[in-house]
Subunit: 480 residues, 2 copies
Amino acid sequence: MHHDCSFLDELDLEGSVSRGSSDRRNHASDFGTREGQAVEPDAVAFPESTADVSAILAAANERGVPVTPYAAGTGLEANATPVHGGVSLDITRMDAVLDIRPDDLQIDVEPGVIGEAINEAVAGRGLFFPPLPSSGSISTIGGMIATDASGQQTVKYGEVADWVLELEVVRADGTVLTVGSKAAKTSSGYNLLNLVIGSEGTLGVVTRATLQLAGRPEQIKGGRAVFPTLEAATEAISDVITSGVDVAKLELIDERTARMVNAYADVELPERPMTFVEFHANHGIDEEIDFYRAIVEAHDVAEFEIASGDEMAELWRAREEIAYASEEYDPDREIEGSGDVTVPIGRYPEMIAAVQSVAESYDLFIPCFGHAGDGNLHYGVFADHDDPEEVERVRAAHAEIVDRAIELGGTATGEHGIGVGKRKFLEREHGAAGVETMRAVKEALDPNGILNPGKVLPNANAQASASATDGGTNGRTNRK
Amino acid sequence: MHHDCSFLDELDLEGSVSRGSSDRRNHASDFGTREGQAVEPDAVAFPESTADVSAILAAANERGVPVTPYAAGTGLEANATPVHGGVSLDITRMDAVLDIRPDDLQIDVEPGVIGEAINEAVAGRGLFFPPLPSSGSISTIGGMIATDASGQQTVKYGEVADWVLELEVVRADGTVLTVGSKAAKTSSGYNLLNLVIGSEGTLGVVTRATLQLAGRPEQIKGGRAVFPTLEAATEAISDVITSGVDVAKLELIDERTARMVNAYADVELPERPMTFVEFHANHGIDEEIDFYRAIVEAHDVAEFEIASGDEMAELWRAREEIAYASEEYDPDREIEGSGDVTVPIGRYPEMIAAVQSVAESYDLFIPCFGHAGDGNLHYGVFADHDDPEEVERVRAAHAEIVDRAIELGGTATGEHGIGVGKRKFLEREHGAAGVETMRAVKEALDPNGILNPGKVLPNANAQASASATDGGTNGRTNRK
């Protein structure tokens, strides 16, 4: 669908607007865009201020033109690319660190700031921003807030939402408001802060964030535990969490992932299930490690190595290679889906076993890894897109895994968001009443439906909606 | 305003309905109801199931009859008592512990369960529910969720919202939905969970909660530090937090509060500012205490005592007596307002100084205490209600303190909620756009405005609203 975006030229913006084909192409896809899914925006706007964002939204809202916020494009569910054309609102020029208040453990930033830049800005004060996702060196804080991202350190420190205190948000009609509070705790009125966080730009556009920071721990150690079976590994994980071991990271990789990483990277991992662990403390770190060791030994750990500094980084390197290894592993196949189902920690062993069983019954290679300490499981499903039968088989396997997670009391997405790819699971997870309530909120805050349409919520009904053609039955767009 | 509630008799409820004068009177006031504020409901319903709550709401919604959820009545801002009559929905009979899943660190409860009963139910498994407020032995989990309560341990463990995973909620029209997820982390759709938490029963009624639990720490020690000046005490607090000392509780009381407690209880506190502190650890607790000690010594601490067990409890006892001491201290004066403003931790010393300055300029006795580690300040303002000049003076002082907190980047209410008493500050804190956005959400989820009307949101306008007579200008009802 094309939209007349000439109104952008009439606005008095600090930033700029492009209709150039390369800008439009660059904003048509992101890390989560699958084969044949890319939809170009009609224009790309590069706002440089809150006033710019407000002016663009107010004008687009009057005209019913879709606006899809875009930043680093690292989302895995096509969260930030258009489904219905319109304006791509690229906020990467709004990347200033506005203020650092070490006495309050706070920093104010614009949404286009890269995650690691926050850490760099405060490192000199001995502070850090704990919940960065693994993509933190390339993704923006705006994107992390949009999906309520989390990462390896979430098991100790919590998710992005736990570290966002206050946001400046522009509503669909251009109204600017501040949600949340710079106080560490508030019960003042409705919690609009957490409503905006994770809403993927469908309820408002974030233009400024106040984040909470933490002091860097004085001691860091970590390492790797190799297990004889996947069952032993996952039961050890569950036991570590319920025993209250103070782990700062607790990651799992299965033997398939180990094989994949060995094939790609210059490492020689034992091709067995293993966990990667890290500890942060101001003192007493060795006692905590002993606590951990006692539990993994009770689960027949085969190898357990702990180190610090470069040696620890070397032990961990295999974990960091997974994303690249997945992309390169099989030249005939592309990632068709990237899962992040999350289940209650006691159900984690069952969930991992369920994925293995799905892989076998569909005859697929499905490597598993993830933020095990949160019950969060990552897995890749790969398909040869020249083989329609395989594509269908892979999609069915992916759906079965998600269904199983929901049956176990879990969620379709722990941290990547719904985007386009997971819309089909929303009602399964939240029920018709849950989806209808989310839709009521969306209609209240964006009555013209201009903010990132075609995301998060499934289509209301095929007749009434302009988005009727976007392939709602399998949650994927088939547009070219 | 009276409402015909005879429709309740037509419902096929498991629970019961009363129109008896003592039930109506008992549901007309709570801990936060001020002189002359009590409004009786026309009927009190005692639902015993989700189906009961759904049937009552559906019927009330059709007829436009207000429904005000009520539980233990321990709210401090008249959160749970009617402003416009109608039905008081007393959920205290829904007090079952439904399921305990130690492998998931989870418990499912009905909303009428008393906080301490949760701890008792899981103590045998070595678990506890960390964010209980000081009222935890008398207040219900439903009330804690309604106000997003917090407490002494929030400085280490977070607030109630951080420990609520999933809620069953009945919407105004009787629709039952589940919000949140039993997974520790989710990015699936809009965060309706945190929208309901803290909404004081104005967006829906909670009928079941899944809570996260934690393992009890193996070591607990705590004690008291006495400071030469209030400035030294508050600067030490700010320094402890920014240095990352792992405190489980960090409370302040000023010399006025110490004097008040001495007058009431059988203790002999030094009449100087002091902090109460507690540490939780699995090991290394003494090293953490040394870390704390070094900081308070740098702030000229006069006395510092640490103990465990009964001896610790004795050191802490004065802190626990404050609520009773406040009520009894001055027989001629009643509490007119109970403040819980919260500011960024670096601003805490200024906030405390501001209250002292307000007390002096208004010639009032305003004792301060509170959850200092969160930047949360409690204070009482007392008035002789036979002296209208004093009442006005006290209200003006109270308002000036709240305004000052908001100016410092803080919030009008850290944990008690808006209720009736803080409505006048909502726009000051969130701006017109913030309040208008909250109102849009309210209208989307409760279009007939039956859920706890007259709370949280200020009146839309005096002409259009049935609530025009509830004394919106000073945020207090003057009805008899």
